[in-house]
Symmetry: C2
Subunit: 184 residues, 2 copies
């Protein structure tokens, strides 16, 4: 459905939409405003997209790929010991687009289909963390609980909606890795 040889096409619109959503939530992605920002008019938009909703859905798709699937794939492909893998995941998380996460979760509160997507992604992420932790020798059920603790802490940071100094991040808490991997 998507052709990668477009001159100014869906990609640019989606990218700009992500910027807008990151800054001010879904209500901030307005087609006429983005058009101005891209130096074109609505005419262009309604050529590439059916309507505003199509843009939002495309944004959601892009987010799944960008902020979850590709991360898991790249980290697992790289491999290493559990501690190293976890550190790599953390590195990705620290570069994550936090504002976008918040925007989507707020959107999900009003749209059930979006909610389902978010839930699925959350489960993927937690399952991935659980997998890493269990590889360090922690039993599955305990690994799941610790994965949730970690992930909730990530999301919590994210829900702050504001920049957090890297040294303040949960992922940098001294001894956090030992605490997570500790067994028994």
């Amino acid at each position: 459905m998507e052709n990668s040889t477009e001159p100014l096409g869906r990609r640019e619109w989606i990218s700009a939409a992500i910027d807008a959503a990151t800054l001010g939530g879904m209500d901030n992605v307005r087609v006429e405003r983005i058009a101005r920002q891209l130096g074109v008019t609505k005419g262009s938009f309604y050529w590439h997209f059916k309507d505003r909703n199509a843009l939002l859905n495309a944004l959601l798709e892009t987010w799944q790929e960008m902020q979850t699937i590709s991360v898991i794939d790249s980290v697992e492909e790289r491999g290493g010991k559990p501690g190293e893998i976890l550190r790599n995941v953390v590195a990705h998380i620290e570069k994550m687009n936090v504002g976008l996460e918040v925007a989507l979760r707020q959107w999900a509160a009003k749209d059930d289909s979006v909610y389902k997507v978010i839930v699925r992604i959350d489960e993927m992420r937690v399952a991935h963390l659980q997998s890493i932790i269990s590889r360090a020798g922690v039993p599955q059920s305990h690994a799941l609980q610790r994965a949730k603790l970690l992930y909730y802490a990530f999301i919590g940071e994210v829900a702050f909606g504001r920049p957090i100094a890297p040294e303040d991040r949960v992922t940098r808490i001294p001894g956090i890795h030992e605490m997570i991997f500790r067994w028994p």
Copy 2:
């Protein structure tokens, strides 16, 4: 400035505004819509408030009192051993209006004065948790880190926006209290 003997006054407007913000963020609090919902017209609103901004600021004020100050006060007044106090705080957090939290934090991303308020409240909350943990014998700096982990986890869990099975809650993770209070 506020008279508590008003028949239908600021209180009702603020309360309805909170409901709207909880559901769909600040962009969802619209005076004409709330007016309809309250069974009145804009005429009423612009009698009680200067403009829409005044309503939003009143909402922010109410939130601070409602969701932080009164919680800390009530918990500390009740007292008890650190473990009990922590459990009481957790009980409050589990009843917290999460949607409102998210809404305000997204608002803060665009408004600097709001941002400052949020930061102050977050610091109050974390400082309170830190205080509780340190009362259990954990040194201040470690207590601060663990307070952040806990606080972020609460916020994150709750940011999911839909009910979580009680047994899945971070606050119910077996050994979480021991992990937090453990020293050395």
